[in-house]
C-alpha cells in the first residue's frame, strides 16, 4: 500500500466525517427552525388576528364616515328643496294679500286689529298708521274708537296697522307683515307637513 492510498483513505474519512457533521448540522437546523416555526405560529396567529381586527376597525370607521356624510348631504339637499318650496308659497301668499279686496270682511279684520292694539298698549289715546290702500278703511273705522287718530304719515306694508301712544313712548306693530313674521315658524311647519303628506 502506497502513500497515495493511505492519503486517499484519510481524505475519504475526513470527507465522510465532514459530510456526517454537515448532515447532522442540517438536521439540527431543520429541527430548530421547525421548533421556532411552531413556537412563532401562535404569536403569528395573534399578530394576524390583531392586524385583521385593526383593518376591520378602520374599515368600519371609514364606512361610518362615508355613510354619515352621504346621509347628511342628501338630508341637507332635501332641506334646501323644502325651503325653496316654502319660500314660493310665501311669495304667492304675499302677492295674494297685496291684491286682496278691501271688502267688508277686511274691514272687520282691521277693526279687530285696532281693538287688539288698544288692549295691548293699554290706552285708547293712540295714533294709527297704515298704508295708502287701507287708509280709507281705517279712517271709516276710527269713529268707533274715541281717542284714536289717523296719522298723515303712510307706512310701507302689505296691510294692517301700526299704532303708537300719543306721547310716543309705546308702539305696537299690528301690520300683516309683522303678524306673518311672528307666525312664520308655525306656517313653515304647516307647509312642510303638507309637502311630506
Amino acid at each position: 500500500m502506497g502513500i497515495d492510498s493511505a492519503l486517499e483513505k484519510t481524505v475519504e474519512k475526513i470527507l465522510q466525517n465532514t459530510e456526517q457533521q454537515i448532515i447532522s448540522n442540517l438536521k439540527d437546523a431543520l429541527k430548530s427552525s421547525q421548533q421556532t416555526l411552531a413556537n412563532s405560529q401562535s404569536s403569528l396567529e395573534q399578530e394576524y388576528d390583531k392586524i385583521l381586527a385593526e383593518g376591520k376597525k378602520e374599515a368600519e370607521k371609514l364606512e361610518k364616515q362615508i355613510i354619515g356624510n352621504a346621509d347628511l348631504d342628501s338630508r341637507n339637499k332635501q332641506l334646501l328643496l323644502v325651503e325653496e318650496s316654502i319660500e314660493k308659497v310665501f311669495q304667492k301668499a304675499i302677492a295674494k294679500l297685496q291684491t286682496a279686496d278691501r271688502n267688508e270682511s277686511y274691514s272687520k279684520l282691521i277693526s279687530s286689529l285696532i281693538k287688539e292694539s288698544i288692549d295691548t298698549i293699554g290706552t285708547s289715546e293712540i295714533i294709527v298708521q297704515t298704508n295708502s290702500k287701507d287708509k280709507s278703511v281705517v279712517q271709516s273705522l276710527l269713529s268707533k274708537f274715541p281717542g284714536a287718530t289717523l296719522s298723515a304719515d303712510q307706512i310701507d306694508c302689505l296691510g294692517g296697522i301700526r299704532v303708537q301712544s300719543k306721547d310716543g313712548s309705546m308702539k305696537f306693530d299690528n301690520t300683516l307683515d309683522a303678524r306673518l313674521d311672528r307666525l312664520n315658524p308655525l306656517i313653515r311647519k304647516d307647509i312642510a307637513t303638507k309637502f311630506r303628506g
Binding site: Q65, G68, G168, F172, L186, R188
Partner: protein, 461 residues
C-alpha cells in the same frame, strides 16, 4: 306662539354694561324675551332680569355696543326665550343663541320649548344606570360614564381638554343596544380655531350626522354665553324625552359661562361673593347641571360632561369647587402628565366617577371591571409613593416589589393611559390593558381581584 307680539317702548332710561333699563313699562314679566331695536333697524335679543316701579332691567345677549339712549327701543315679546326643536336639528351647527350658522335654513320646528327647561320631578327621576363607551380607556376603565350622569372634566389653561372633548364626541356610543345615541356639543367662548376644530372633527369622522353643535365664539358677546348651555340642553331634552335617544351633552368651557355671569352681576351692582362671582353661582350652575338625568317611563337619557378650566390650576377656585358639589364625580387633567406628553393627561388619583359602580359589571361591561379598576388604582397609587421614595433613597434602596411597582407606574402611563387622538378602544381592549398593567406584579400582590379573575385574565410573562 301667537301672532299678537308685544309692545315696543322707546323710553330708555339707562344703558349700563350689558344691561338696558327701560322706563314706563307695563305688564312686563320676569325672564320675558325682549327685542332691542337699534337706530339703524338692527335687532338684538335680551331678557328681563328685574321689573319694578314701571322699570324693566333688560340683559342684552348680543351686547350693548353701539346702543344709545335715544333712538333705541325695546319690544317685550310676551313670552320667554324658546328654542325651536325637531329631529332636523341633528347634523346642524348653530350659534350660541340657537340660530343656524351652517348656511342651511332654520330647522322646521316640531315644538318650541322654553330654554330654561321644566324642573325634573324628583319622584319621576330614575337612577342613572348603564354605560356609555367613550373609547377612551382611562374614562371607560376607571371613571366610567353612566347614562344620566353629570361628570365634569376639570382642566387647566392650555391643556388638551378640547382635543379630549372632540374625541369623546366622535367616539361615544351606547353598546349592546339598538337605542339611538346623539351628542349635543356646546362650545362656550371658544376661539375660532377651536370651533373649527370641533366642527371639522365631527364632519370628517361622519359623527356630525348624530350631533348638534352650538358655537359661541370668544369674540361673541359674553352675555350670549348665559344662553348657550341652556339652548343646548333644551335640544338634548327634546332628543332624549320626546325622541327617546340617549344624549351626551358636552359643555366647554363652563369657566367662560361663569365669567359672563360675573359680568352681569357686576353690572347689576350685586354684592359679590368669592372672587367676585355672584352669591347665587351655585344655584345658577345647578340649574344647568341638574338637567342631566333619566325619567321614569321615558326611554332616553341626558348625560352631561361639562368641561371647565381651573384658573391657575386651582381646584379650590369657586367654579370647580361649586361644580364638584353638584356633579357626580370629576375627571381631573394633570399638568405634570400633560408636560410629559401623556394624552389624555388624566390624573386618576384626583378623579372619581361616583356612580360608576351602577353602570358596570356583569351584563353591562364585564364581571371583573370594578375589581380590576380598583387594582389599577391601588397599584398606580403605590407606584406614585415608590416614585417619591426613589427620589429620596434612589432605586438602589428599593425592594424587588417596589421596583415592580415602578414598572407598573410606567406601564400604566405609557400603555393604558396614553392613547391616540383617533384611537377608539372597546371596553374589552381597555380591560385587557388594565390586566396587562397589573400583570407586571406578582400574583400575590393582586389583592383587590378575586382568584377566579386572576386565573382567567392574568397575563403570565
Amino acid at each position: 306662539m301667537s301672532a299678537q307680539g308685544g309692545v315696543q317702548y322707546s323710553k330708555i332710561a339707562e344703558i349700563k354694561g350689558p344691561l338696558v333699563v327701560v322706563d314706563g313699562v307695563e305688564s312686563v314679566a320676569f325672564d320675558e324675551l325682549v327685542e332691542i331695536q337699534t337706530t339703524d333697524g338692527q335687532r338684538r335679543l335680551g331678557k328681563v332680569l328685574e321689573v319694578g316701579n314701571r322699570k324693566a332691567i333688560v340683559q342684552v345677549f348680543e351686547g350693548t355696543t353701539g346702543l344709545s339712549v335715544s333712538g333705541t327701543s325695546a319690544k317685550f315679546v310676551g313670552k320667554v326665550m324658546e328654542m325651536p326643536v325637531s329631529e332636523q336639528v341633528l347634523g346642524r351647527v348653530f350659534d350660541g343663541l340657537g340660530r343656524a350658522i351652517d348656511g342651511l335654513p332654520e330647522p322646521i320646528a316640531d315644538k318650541f320649548i322654553d330654554i330654561n327647561g321644566a324642573p325634573m320631578n324628583p319622584e319621576q327621576r330614575e337612577y342613572p344606570r348603564d354605560f356609555i363607551q367613550t373609547g377612551v380607556s382611562v374614562i371607560d376603565g376607571m371613571l366610567t360614564l353612566v347614562r344620566g350622569q353629570k361628570l365634569p372634566i376639570f382642566s387647566g389653561s392650555g391643556m388638551s381638554h378640547n382635543i379630549l372633548a372632540a374625541q369623546i364626541a366622535r367616539q361615544a356610543a351606547v353598546v349592546g343596544t339598538s337605542d339611538e345615541f346623539a351628542v349635543v356639543f356646546a362650545a362656550i367662548g371658544v376661539q375660532y380655531s377651536e370651533a373649527e376644530y370641533f366642527r371639522r372633527s365631527l364632519e370628517e369622522s361622519g359623527a356630525l350626522k348624530r350631533s348638534v353643535l352650538f358655537l359661541n365664539l370668544a369674540d361673541d358677546p359674553a352675555i350670549e354665553r348665559i344662553i348657550t348651555p341652556r339652548v343646548a340642553l333644551t335640544v338634548a331634552e327634546y332628543l332624549a324625552y320626546d325622541l327617546g335617544m340617549h344624549v351626551l351633552v358636552i359643555l366647554t368651557d363652563m369657566t367662560n359661562y361663569a365669567e359672563a355671569l360675573r359680568e352681569i352681576s357686576a353690572a347689576r351692582e350685586e354684592v359679590p361673593g368669592r372672587k367676585g362671582y355672584p352669591g347665587y353661582l351655585y344655584t345658577d350652575l345647578s340649574t344647568i347641571y341638574e338637567r342631566a338625568g333619566r325619567l321614569r317611563d321615558k326611554k332616553g337619557s341626558v348625560t352631561q360632561m361639562p368641561i371647565l378650566t381651573m384658573p391657575s390650576d386651582d381646584i379650590t377656585h369657586p367654579i370647580p369647587d361649586l361644580t364638584g358639589y353638584i356633579t357626580e364625580g370629576q375627571i381631573v387633567l394633570g399638568r405634570d402628565l400633560f408636560r410629559q406628553g401623556v394624552y389624555p393627561p388624566v390624573n386618576i388619583l384626583m378623579s372619581l366617577s361616583r356612580i360608576m359602580k351602577d353602570g358596570i359589571g356583569e351584563g353591562r361591561t364585564r364581571g371583573d371591571h370594578q375589581e380590576i379598576s380598583n387594582q389599577n388604582y391601588d397599584a398606580y397609587s403605590r407606584a406614585q409613593e415608590v416614585r417619591a421614595l426613589a427620589g429620596i433613597v434612589g432605586k438602589a434602596g428599593l425592594t424587588g416589589v417596589d421596583l415592580k411597582y415602578l414598572e407598573v407606574g410606567d406601564g400604566f402611563e405609557k400603555e393604558f393611559l396614553t392613547q391616540g387622538v383617533d384611537e377608539n378602544r372597546t371596553i374589552d381592549e381597555t380591560l385587557g390593558l388594565q390586566w396587562k398593567v397589573v400583570s407586571l406584579l406578582p400574583k400575590n400582590e393582586l389583592t383587590k381581584v378575586k382568584d377566579k379573575f386572576i386565573d382567567q385574565y392574568y397575563q403570565e410573562r
